[in-house]
């Protein structure tokens, strides 16, 4: 019999972080060429790029590590 492992909560966390990280990082990169009208404080540090990037990397790691594997029973 074949099947997949149960999805772990860490897998869900990984998917969520990956999605959010990618969206925020891409938004940050977009803002480089399309600056906001109302800039947040310390916008020169480009927090969306590095924070979003860090979340995406962490999310990718968790998604891959806890991806439900196939098994043969």
């Amino acid at each position: 019999m074949q099947g997949r492992e149960t999805m772990s909560i860490w897998f869900f966390c990984g998917v969520m972080l990956l999605a959010y990280g990618a969206i925020i990082c891409i938004t940050g990169l977009w803002e480089l060429s399309h600056p906001l009208l109302n800039l947040p404080a310390l916008s020169g540090l480009h927090a969306p790029i590095w924070w979003g990037g860090a979340l995406a990397v962490a999310g990718l790691g968790y998604t891959v590590k806890f991806f439900p594997r196939r098994y043969r029973g």
Binding site: T6, Y20, L39, P40, A41, S43, W51
Partner: protein, 576 residues
């Protein structure tokens, strides 16, 4: 802590005039992804929530990390975050006491001393333990009061979320109430406690990634902690905002109007131990652990994260004292003068540092916190109603399938009552204050009853019941006394300089606990003790605890608890 944070929502009621932030389409996408994941988890876990053990106790298969994060997350609601960030702006670093001495010792005590008894007795709830130890009277009293208060609290929580969304984003109250209620009802009714726990872990991660950027960027802006404390002292012309203990010698020496005995014995002992060791809303998460070692490690892991929480809650409040170009004021003044209130400090700091995307994640963290709080209340209500009221007194011989169906219906009915409560509170805001007060009546005496039950084998059934009753009556009486005559606080807090609010809650809890313990001891000595054989697995020293086999010394829970305890002491000394 819960009482104080809910006060925030009560105050926000008066200030629903303008929105602080406007969401971009990317922010809406971030929020939509969260709702999609939450609903998916509910449907996904439905298949593994078919028996009562699975539905109410998550199959008792949670690892220490999942149970620990869920344990601390059940308390980390958005009102908690926003309320204490506002308190940090108002009272300074003293607000940290509610996260450190007001939580860490109790959580470690739960893991090391109390958890083995909860776990090996295989009870499904705290009232369930009272049933085994003190009989049906104590169980009925605690179960009915808990179920009643939990479901009302869920409604208050729901209304608070809608209110915050209205103040922060200008959203319609009905929209927020119905969307969040239907979502919570769906994922808890489908997946039971496991679904609630999964979502709490998800929420915990979200809160940290959504809120951590504020203190990081804030510290960069002010130039570090040393500069921040210097700026606060200079701006306010007072040095008591950045010290934890050195200003607690007298009520008048600190902005909060409290004294160290109240913080140590009232907050650090009675309130904290009462909440973290006997409130079923949080204890239920640890009871779902997969073995006794996980059950002991979960509160220790939770304590470690709880100790870090001031970084994302208290620090933004303190940073606001330095970086915001305007002053925040009390709620009444904010309404009259259209200024921003203390309670808006966290959203204000979020808006200050976060653009599109990041702002959406921060708002999602707030929504997740509220929904998780509702889900926690509803799942705990469903368990206590089904096991300790319906199954214990109304229908004792139903099938397991019947109890699961009852649990699912209870969840839906609980959410429905919560919605009614939310609308009731909307039209009569003072109800919120009464609900908060009612909740606080039961926690302190319940801790007295449970701790004597676990540590003192001479405590009898009558002693437990009458002690719990006397403690609860004492708490209610003191509250009524101070409500009718505010000057009575000088007798309750033993000082004419004590403040109504913080000091009142702390000292009322101390009296309620003391009366509970005293009455329990007196009645126990006056009544026949239970045979020692009947107390096996319920009382310390009566039965041997199961052996835990750790491969290495550093894997033992006591080692980790000691490490967390040592860091707790060092942090208190650093910020003395």
């Amino acid at each position: 802590m819960l009482v104080a944070s809910l006060k925030t929502a009560s105050l926000l009621l008066q200030a629903q005039t303008r929105s602080l932030a406007h969401l971009d389409s990317v922010d809406v996408l971030v929020i939509a992804i969260y709702f999609a994941i939450v609903i998916f988890i509910g449907f996904y876990l439905k298949g593994s929530s078919n028996t009562s053990e699975e539905f109410f106790m998550a199959g008792r298969e949670m690892t220490a990390w999942i149970a620990g994060l869920s344990f601390v997350s059940a308390n980390l609601g958005s009102l908690e975050l926003m309320g204490w960030a506002g308190s940090a702006y108002q009272y300074g670093i003293l607000a940290t006491h509610w996260y450190w001495i007001g939580a860490i010792p109790a959580m470690l005590f739960l893991g090391i001393v109390m958890m083995p008894f909860y776990y090996i007795s295989k009870v499904n709830s705290v009232p369930g333990y009272l049933h085994l130890r003190f009989g049906d009277g104590a169980r009925a009293l605690s179960a009915v009061s808990f179920a009643f208060m939990t479901i009302l609290m869920s409604g208050v929580n729901m209304y608070s979320m809608a209110l915050v969304m209205k103040v922060v984003l200008g959203w319609n109250l009905n929209f927020s109430i119905w969307v969040s209620s239907i979502t919570v009802a769906a994922y808890v009714a489908l997946g039971g406690l496991k679904s609630a726990i999964y979502n709490e872990v998800l929420q915990f991660v979200l809160i940290w990634v959504g809120a951590a950027l504020v203190p990081i960027l804030g510290l960069i802006e002010v130039g570090g902690w040393h500069n921040l404390s210097t700026q606060i002292t200079t701006n306010l012309h007072r040095g008591d905002y950045v010290h934890l203990w050195s200003t607690l010698g007298h009520f008048k020496d600190n902005p909060m109007g409290v004294q160290w005995p109240g913080i140590v014995f009232g907050l650090g002992f009675v309130i904290s131990f009462g909440y973290w060791t006997t409130d079923f809303l949080v204890v239920q998460r640890v009871l779902a652990a997969d073995n006794i070692r996980s059950a002991r490690m979960a509160p220790i892991i939770g304590a470690a994260f709880k100790m870090m929480t001031p970084f994302i809650v208290i620090l933004p409040g303190l940073l606001a004292l330095s970086v915001l170009p305007f002053h925040l004021v009390g709620e009444a003044q904010a309404v009259a003068t259209h200024q921003h209130s203390y309670n808006e400090v966290l959203p204000l700091m979020l808006v200050r540092y976060c653009g599109p995307g990041l702002l959406g994640m921060g708002v999602t963290a707030l929504i997740a916190g509220f929904m998780s709080g509702m889900a926690g209340n509803v799942s705990a209500f469903s368990t206590v109603w089904t096991y300790d009221i319906y199954g214990a007194f109304i229908n004792k011989k139903a099938t397991d399938k019947h109890y699961v169906a009852m649990g699912r219906w209870c969840t839906l009915i609980g959410v429905f009552i919560s919605i009614l409560t939310a609308y009731l509170v909307q039209h009569a805001a003072s109800i919120m204050d009464y609900v908060q007060a009612l909740f606080s009546f039961f926690i302190a005496p319940l801790f007295g009853t449970v701790i004597l039950g676990m540590l003192w084998k001479r405590a009898t059934k009558a002693g437990g019941f009458y002690g719990l009753l006397a403690g609860t009556v004492t708490s209610i009486s003191l509250w009524i006394w101070v409500q009718r005559d505010p000057s009575a606080l000088k007798y309750v807090a033993l000082s004419p300089d004590a403040n109504i609010g913080m000091a009142e809650n702390i000292y009322r809890a101390l009296w309620a606990w003391s009366v509970c313990v005293l009455v329990t001891v007196i009645v126990s000595y006056a009544t026949q003790p239970r045979p020692v054989k009947e107390l096996e697995g319920l009382v310390y020293g009566v039965s041997p605890l199961p052996e835990e086999h750790d491969d290495h010394w550093w894997q033992k829970p006591i080692v980790w608890a000691s490490a967390v305890g040592a860091i707790f002491i060092v942090l208190n000394i650093i910020f003395w």
